[in-house]
């Protein structure tokens, strides 16, 4: 959710119970503005909150002019002091994939994980137990990246591709119409397209190159990984990710108000097929 319209966005997203206490709200309004100034972001998004056992991580993201360019991610424990997280890499994802369970709320906490590693000594191959330590900060980076790649949502038309390549905010976006708002195909993944290249020419035929340059949600696997609801008597559409429970996307049709927030434990729901 945008830093400028934080209060309205929080109100809109509150249907899932994901609120912020008044003091957090006030401090976010103050500190995000400073973050924007200090890091020279074009836009600052309040990304959400990862619930830890001891403390919660508040996450913000800074966007550059090009909306799809790699984003900078910051975290804070008290909503005032923000620290920059390193960019996520594939290696981090590999490392952290072995860690299960909840976040602690302490960025320097090290998860210990014993692993069997093959050690070659001469001709013999030994299996040795190696204790791998994964820092929670790394895990945090990796989880945020995974969530962003999997379930960050943007309505169709909110961004457009300029002829020179960069993706900009579409200022004439006036919201989806009520009928479009009920369809998953009107929402895109807020990331570089992955699936788009694999589409056939026939599927691409109807796409508008300036708007349809991202992957649509409707082909997500497994089918049914989104819950789409109209709330407040059709004046608010809410998408909830079932794959990453805690991610809520809201959009008031016919207005520019849209955004997403993640409030959850930072764990993927791999039980989804059993639960549908």
């Amino acid at each position: 959710m945008d830093e400028e319209s934080l209060l309205l966005s929080l109100e809109l997203a509150s249907g899932s119970g994901q609120g912020l206490s008044p003091d957090r709200r006030a401090s976010l309004l103050t500190s995000l503005m400073l973050v924007k100034r200090d890091y020279r972001f074009d836009r600052v998004l309040f990304w959400g909150r990862i619930l830890g056992l001891v403390a919660d991580y508040y996450i913000a993201q800074g966007l550059s002019e090009d909306q799809l360019a790699p984003r900078k991610t910051l975290y804070s424990l008290n909503c005032m002091e923000w620290s920059l997280l390193p960019p996520a890499t594939e290696e981090m994802e590999m490392q952290t994939s072995v860690v299960k369970g909840r976040f602690m709320g302490d960025p320097s906490h090290a998860y210990e994980h014993t692993e069997l590693q093959r050690v070659n000594e001469g001709e013999k191959v030994f299996e040795e137990e190696v204790v791998v330590q994964v820092k929670e900060e790394i895990r945090l980076v990796s989880i945020i990246d995974q969530i962003d790649k999997a379930v960050a949502v943007i309505p169709r038309g909110a961004l457009f591709k300029t002829p020179f390549g960069p993706i900009r905010v579409n200022r004439t976006f006036e919201g989806l119409s009520s009928s479009e708002a009920k369809k998953l195909s009107s929402y895109f993944h807020f990331r570089e397209p992955v699936e788009l290249k694999n589409k056939t020419l026939l599927e691409k035929a109807d796409l508008d190159p300036s708007l349809d340059f991202m992957d649509s949600l409707e082909h997500d696997i497994p089918k049914g990984s989104w819950s789409i609801q109209m709330e407040r008597g059709n004046t608010l559409v809410v998408l909830r990710s079932l794959l990453w429970p805690g991610l809520t996307f809201y959009h008031a049709p016919r207005t520019k108000n849209y955004g997403y927030i993640y409030v959850g434990t930072g764990e993927k729901n791999i039980d989804l097929p059993f639960m549908l």
Partner: protein, 713 residues
């Protein structure tokens, strides 16, 4: 286009063996046109455009006007020369053609003007005002016979060409020709000197050309660019958007959309916002209910007043904790709860929470009916089902009946006790009717523990799961509510205490007490203590045993009905009962501190914190369950409240594993009942017979032995 056409023309030129230099052009132009007209016209085109950029001074705006000519000439070069091979057109035909041309020309004045304007240099010099001149006029002013013939020919093409473009091309060709011709008469340098003289009018013409072009209406939509641009600019000036240049494409689109939308008036979809209105209409009832009820309410008001919880107050505290719904939604729920308490005989009511669903959500209210006013409707169904099972047994003959019996159903707890202590009402949205959930049965709880399903939001959805769930979504929802309540309903230590009379005596289960009452002497707990020590929080809802009940039910004690059924098969039953006759399942008793809750694989089951670190003196203690993500409790020392919002699933660090399939029943062990002996051999029979004869030796019994023999065969 502009770059490529001159090149093309040059190539064309070279084919004709011309070099493309201006002085040579003049030579070709001065040739007698009649024999090689087609050739000449083509070559001249190329020639004309070749020098033109050179001859026109770059600074003069006319250069802009000349570019369309280049464009238009381009395709003209490739036009087949066949029509031009009938040069000697008869005058009558030409006349007739002229008549035909008349309307066409009136339509096409704009394009004609543009062409007439392009051969600027010479004509303008000769006749000062040429802007509006039609081809006829120009030709006549020349007064050349050759041009006359050219003109007629040119008009001949007119009606033949269906599309404007090609006709224009011909027209243009004619003009070019004309110009070329005049070029041959005058010095090439002249245009340059003359251009400066007539610049204003040329500018005017150029503008008119451009305007005429812009005014050309599209063959598809009937719009023209001129009007469109002016509308766009009007819109931009009206709305004054910031950085208008960035959004001009969209403004353009909007303007066009507006044109289209006018046509749709007959097919407008009026019902589009209908659901919103419907909801608003329903919710209006919530807001109006206070007024509509008259003075006859006084009596009820007394009761209703204290049965309604102060939702807003607890919502305020939960907001401090950073959980809860939005303010307006909470207020609507508050009103909906008021509606519930007004319409039902409710003793105590509480906003339990909200359970998210796939299509709709559930708002859950926990109520306690006033004494003696609970409804007893649902009981009948279950008993009817049980009877069905009993009837099936009757009609079986001597064949052995199936002695596998359904695992004994644990009876559900009475209302007001155990897991059915409270009644739960749910609704999808405030304003919609409240639906009472059925009482929960132990079997449902036991199965619900083994499955993990998303709720859909429709109460009648069947639950399809591996251990078959006995019931539909309403039962599953009820079971989850029971489990969550039992796990996460907590209160500060001392707020409740066991009642003196009620508790001990009535319970047959060895002194376990399942009722409590508010402690009048509760003087509050320091908030900081509540945060620092989990032992200051206690469960005030009974633990649900593995059996699915809160109070132990001994499966060995059988109801009379069952005993009658079992009387015959008692022998087998006893063996079966052996493993079942376990000692009583025991859970933590009521009002156990939550510090004794089990850990979830090294994860503490509860997280406490202060709502605000900045102003600790007014902060409240916030308790969050890690087992049931979404369950919260707060306490400010004196007050407390519990709240659940989430999907209704239990947390587990491991992924859900479906329960293992039940063990395969072993076949009957091969024993003396199963195995048979070999057939008696002849020796045996003979020996047997001999023995019999020896033993009895009487005639009557011989008959019997014969019968026996038959049997053995």
């Amino acid at each position: 286009m502009e770059d490529s056409t001159p090149l093309k023309q040059k190539i064309e030129h070279q084919e004709l063996g011309e070099t493309g230099r201006p002085w040579e052009e003049m030579v070709t132009a001065s040739q007698d046109p009649e024999p090689g007209l087609s050739e000449a016209s083509e070559s001249e085109q190329g020639l004309e455009t070749g020098p033109q950029p050179r001859s026109s001074p770059p600074g003069i705006p006319q250069s802009g006007a000349s570019t369309p000519v280049d464009d238009l000439v381009g395709p003209g070069v490739s036009s087949p020369p066949s029509p031009s091979q009938e040069p000697s057109s008869t005058p009558p035909l030409a006349l007739a053609v002229q008549d035909l041309m008349a309307p066409w020309q009136s339509d096409k004045t704009t394009s004609v003007i543009s062409e007439a304007g392009t051969p600027h240099f010479d004509h303008l010099e000769q006749s000062s005002v040429k802007g509006e001149s039609t081809p006829h006029q120009t030709c006549q002013s020349e007064g050349n016979t050759f041009h006359q013939s050219q003109q007629t020919k040119c008009h001949l093409y007119g009606p033949r060409d269906v599309s404007y473009n090609s006709s224009k091309r011909k027209e243009l060709r004619f003009d070019i020709f004309q110009e070329e011709d005049s070029n041959s008469n005058y010095d090439l340098d002249q245009p340059e000197s003359g251009a400066s003289e007539v610049a204003p009018s040329m500018l005017e013409i150029a503008i008119q050309n451009a305007k005429a072009y812009l005014l050309k209406s599209s063959s598809k939509s009937g719009l023209n660019l001129y009007d469109h641009l002016s509308e766009m600019l009007t819109k931009v000036l009206d709305k004054r958007p910031e950085n208008a240049v960035d959004i001009i494409e969209n403004v353009s689109q909007d303007v066009k959309m507006e044109h289209f939308s006018i046509k749709l008036d007959t097919l407008q979809n009026e019902n589009e916002m209908l659901p919103a209105y419907e909801t608003a209409e329903k919710q209006k009832a919530l807001f109006l209910q206070g007024n509509s009820e008259g003075a006859d309410q006084e009596m009820e008001d007394e009761i209703a007043e204290h049965s309604l919880p102060n939702v807003m107050e607890s919502a305020f505290y939960f907001e401090q904790a950073g959980v809860g719904l939005g303010t307006d939604e909470t207020y609507r729920i508050f009103l909906a709860l008021k509606q519930l308490t007004d319409t039902h005989p409710i003793q105590k009511c509480r906003f339990w929470g909200k359970i998210l669903g796939l299509e709709m959500n559930y708002i859950v209210a926990e109520v306690e009916f006033r004494e003696g006013e609970d409804e007893e409707e649902v009981e009948e169904e279950d008993e009817a089902e049980e009877r069905d099972n009993g009837d099936n047994e009757a009609d079986e003959g001597e064949l052995p009946r199936s002695f596998s019996k359904a695992p004994q159903a644990t009876p559900k707890e009475e209302s007001r006790t155990g897991a059915n202590k409270y009644v739960y009402f749910v609704c999808n949205e405030p304003g919609r009717p409240w639906v009472k959930l059925p009482a929960v049965t132990p079997a449902q709880i036991v199965i619900a523990r083994k499955i993990k399903k998303f709720l859909t939001g429709r109460l009648d959805t069947p639950i399809i799961s591996y251990p078959p769930f006995p019931g539909n979504e309403s039962n599953y929802l009820r079971a989850q509510i029971a489990r969550i309540s039992a796990g996460t309903q907590v209160s500060p230590l001392g707020f409740y205490h066991f009642g003196e009379e009620e508790g001990k005596e009535e319970e047959e289960t060895e002194g376990r007490r399942d009722s409590f009452e508010e402690n009048p002497d509760f003087e509050g707990i320091q908030v900081i203590d509540l945060v620092e020590s989990l032992s200051n929080w206690v469960h005030h809802v009974q633990h649900i045993l593995p059996q699915g009940r809160c109070n132990w039910f001994n499966p060995l004690q059988k109801s009379e009905e069952e005993e009658a059924a079992e009387a015959e098969a008692e022998a087998e039953e006893e063996e079966r009962e052996e493993p079942d006759s376990i000692e009583q399942e025991v859970g933590p008793p009521l009002l156990t501190p939550i510090s004794e809750d089990l850990e979830i694989q090294n994860i503490p089951p509860w997280t406490t914190r202060l709502s605000s670190n900045l102003i600790p003196q007014y902060a409240i203690a916030v308790l969050r369950s890690n087992l049931w993500t979404g369950a919260y409790a707060f306490s400010n020392g004196k007050k407390f409240e519990n709240f659940y919002i989430g999907w209704g699933h239990k947390y587990s660090p491991d992924s859900y594993t479906p329960p293992v399939p039940p063990p395969v029943y072993q076949e009957y062990p091969s024993g003396p009942e199963i195995t048979e002996m070999d057939d008696p051999s002849v020796e045996e029979e003979q020996a047997f017979r001999a023995a019999q004869e020896a033993a009895v030796n009487s005639t009557e019994e011989n008959e019997e032995t014969e019968e026996d023999e038959d049997d053995y065969d």
